[in-house]
């Protein structure tokens, strides 16, 4: 893509994937983040494929509230369910919701920022107005009001979270689009008589890649947090599907008897968020040309 431009890279730009990967693995925070995220997501995938030794939902009263052991690494909960299997299933559920939510927010938000920044005028004013309205609500409050309005299932939870993050993607992309419109290669493409839409999609959009990669990673960590908070309040993933938030909620009365029921989901949710945050920070360092050489 970069050969199309013929100009030196400007802050929003595309970078060769192989280069990104090697630089990312060389940075300490990027590597740590990538390792943590991959291990946790792998556990989630194993759970989705039913490859874990215990079922996350089936109850086993005989083995209730057992401490961590060789058979149950993270112990069992008040219904005798294996906490490790439930945590893995919770990671899978939370990640699924977070990925769907962020994908939706990225598509809609980027489209908004792109159209607003590129065409200006009325579309820009309209999109900006809607963005301002959505920004007028505290994020978690907006998510839980929306979640309370919809019929509750995992998809509507994802949509509720997505709506909260749409305006962020609009803001993040609109500015770079504005500055890209002033760069020579975009002007040149316009002057060759290509349609405006074509220029927007072929020349402006690809140059938003690095900004979007960073924003998507960071948004994933927020989406995981939001989903966990919603499930904690009873407005997220409906039971009996395990969720990290609802596991912590259920464990609150068991702390003195079975602390592992809170420690396991608590540590995992923090690790998941830390991993994604570090990965996002690492990617930002790699992808932002202003940081190169530091």
């Amino acid at each position: 893509m970069t050969d199309l431009t013929g100009t030196p890279a400007i802050p929003p730009g595309t970078v060769a994937p192989a280069h990104v990967l090697t630089s990312l693995l060389r940075s300490r925070s990027g590597l740590t983040g990538a390792v943590i995220s991959i291990i946790l997501l792998l556990a989630g995938v194993l759970s989705l494929l039913h490859l874990l030794p215990y079922d996350a939902i089936a109850q086993a009263p005989a083995s209730r509230l057992m401490g961590p052991s060789v058979a149950h690494w993270f112990g069992t909960d008040q219904f005798g369910r294996d906490v490790l299997s439930r945590v893995a299933a919770g990671v899978a559920n939370s990640s699924l919701i977070a990925v769907v939510a962020v994908a939706f927010a990225t598509l809609v938000g980027t489209a908004g920022g792109l159209v607003g920044g590129f065409f200006r005028g009325v579309p820009d004013a309209f999109i900006g107005g809607v963005t301002n309205v959505l920004f007028a609500f505290p994020p978690l409050l907006l998510a839980l009001s929306l979640a309370s309005v919809f019929q509750r299932n995992w998809f509507t939870v994802a949509v509720a979270i997505a709506i909260v993050y749409v305006p962020i993607f609009v803001r993040v992309t609109r500015g770079p689009v504005l500055s890209l419109c002033e760069v020579e290669f975009v002007r040149a493409a316009t002057s060759t008589g290509r349609s405006r839409t074509m220029v927007m999609l072929r020349h402006v959009l690809p140059n938003l890649t690095s900004i979007l990669i960073v924003q998507v990673t960071l948004s994933l960590s927020w989406a995981v947090l939001t989903e966990a908070a919603l499930s904690f309040l009873g407005l997220g993933t409906p039971p009996p599907a395990p969720s990290l938030g609802s596991m912590i909620f259920e464990a609150r009365t068991l702390v003195s008897v079975a602390p592992w029921t809170m420690v396991a989901p608590g540590v995992v949710v923090v690790l998941l968020v830390v991993g994604l945050n570090l990965l996002g920070d690492g990617l930002r360092d790699v992808l932002d040309p202003r940081n190169r050489g530091k």
């Binding site: 107005g129 309205v133 959505l134 007028a136 839980l144 309005v149 960590s221 009873g234 912590i248 702390v255």
Partner: protein, 323 residues
């Protein structure tokens, strides 16, 4: 000339806020309509199915649901402007009265949280910046990352459960004590929730402070002050922190959204009857009038706080004022 520009700016900002608040009202109204069913089914629950079409029509006329949507919207907006935010049938109280009780509690919580957030975040950020890449910097960064990554509901639940079940200390377990009645117990009850929220906002404040101090440290006037023999502590507090205030104030203002959202979770966990809990109770009891009006109140407060932050920012930084 400058005055004309200022006038123009204020006008533009004013109209933007007007449109945003109007949009907020439309959004909240549409959300109310999007709820499956309406006030009738929400109020009666499953009994709504037993209504004859005639009874249903009568109820719809009574609630104004047979009017066109636009009429309904403007009559609702008119009610809001005259202070009629709806009525909670469970609490036997108007939403306005409920809000008058709950809002000051949340404001107290927010003020305490911001104070704690600044108390943790600013010194930590300065400590980090005083020797970048050192052990103390790493410590600051770790605390910052922890603040960003440990969700408020987890920290709150863990603190409350451990203190109550292991050390049997639970000031929040005996009914809420308003500030004017029992200030000592009130502060005990507010301490943990304010710490949880303060810890959450300390991280961004710490990061902002660190970046700002690192930036300002290298400027000429700092070197001059140093050459003049200004003691190091005075240099940091007076010369550097004074100039770092602008980004810190902005960041603190930006955290208000987190604070109001986090208040929902934290107030619920610590049984504090603030405005966040009012929303959540409304949702749980399906009292949509309470939910919609309270959400509207919070959104308006949030917009106003952002406006104030903007004004404070102009007040502190003479450069912005001159622009």
């Amino acid at each position: 000339m400058i005055q004309r520009i200022l006038h123009h700016r204020a006008l533009r900002r004013g109209s933007q806020i007007f449109f945003t608040l109007f949009g907020v009202a439309v959004f909240v109204f549409v959300m109310l309509r999007a709820i499956p069913g309406n006030q009738i089914t929400a109020g009666l629950g499953t009994e709504a199915a037993a209504l004859t079409p005639l009874q249903r029509a009568a109820l719809e006329r009574y609630y104004g649901l047979d009017q066109p949507l636009l009429t309904q919207f403007f009559s609702w907006l008119g009610n809001v402007f005259t202070g009629n935010l709806g009525f909670s049938s469970r609490a036997h109280q108007s939403v306005l009265d409920m809000t008058a009780h709950s809002l000051p509690i949340t404001i107290e919580l927010a003020v305490l949280s911001i104070a704690l957030g600044l108390l943790i975040g600013v010194p930590l950020g300065m400590l980090s910046a005083s020797r970048p890449e050192s052990a103390r910097d790493a410590l600051g960064q770790v605390v910052g990352l922890a603040g960003l990554s440990i969700p408020a509901f987890l920290l709150a639940t863990a603190l409350l459960s451990v203190l109550a079940q292991v050390w049997h200390y639970n000031p929040n377990g005996q009914g809420f004590a308003p500030l004017q009645q029992d200030p000592l117990l009130n502060l005990q009850q507010m301490m943990l929730p304010a710490f949880v929220l303060g810890f959450g906002i300390a991280a961004p404040i710490m990061r902002t402070t660190r970046t700002a101090v690192l930036d300002i440290r290298l400027q000429d006037f700092v070197r001059t002050a140093r050459a003049k023999g200004v003691p190091i502590r005075r240099l940091y507090v007076h010369h550097i922190l004074g100039n770092a205030l602008v980004p810190i104030v902005t960041m603190t203002g930006l955290q208000f959204g987190y604070l109001l959202g986090g208040a929902v979770v934290v107030e619920q966990i610590f049984s504090i009857p603030g405005i966040g809990r009012q929303v959540l109770l409304g949702i749980q009891q399906k009292e949509y009038a309470v939910v919609q009006s309270t959400v509207l109140v919070i959104a308006v407060a949030f917009v106003l706080v952002n406006l104030l932050t903007d004004a404070a920012y102009r007040l502190i930084d003479p450069r912005v004022r001159a622009e």
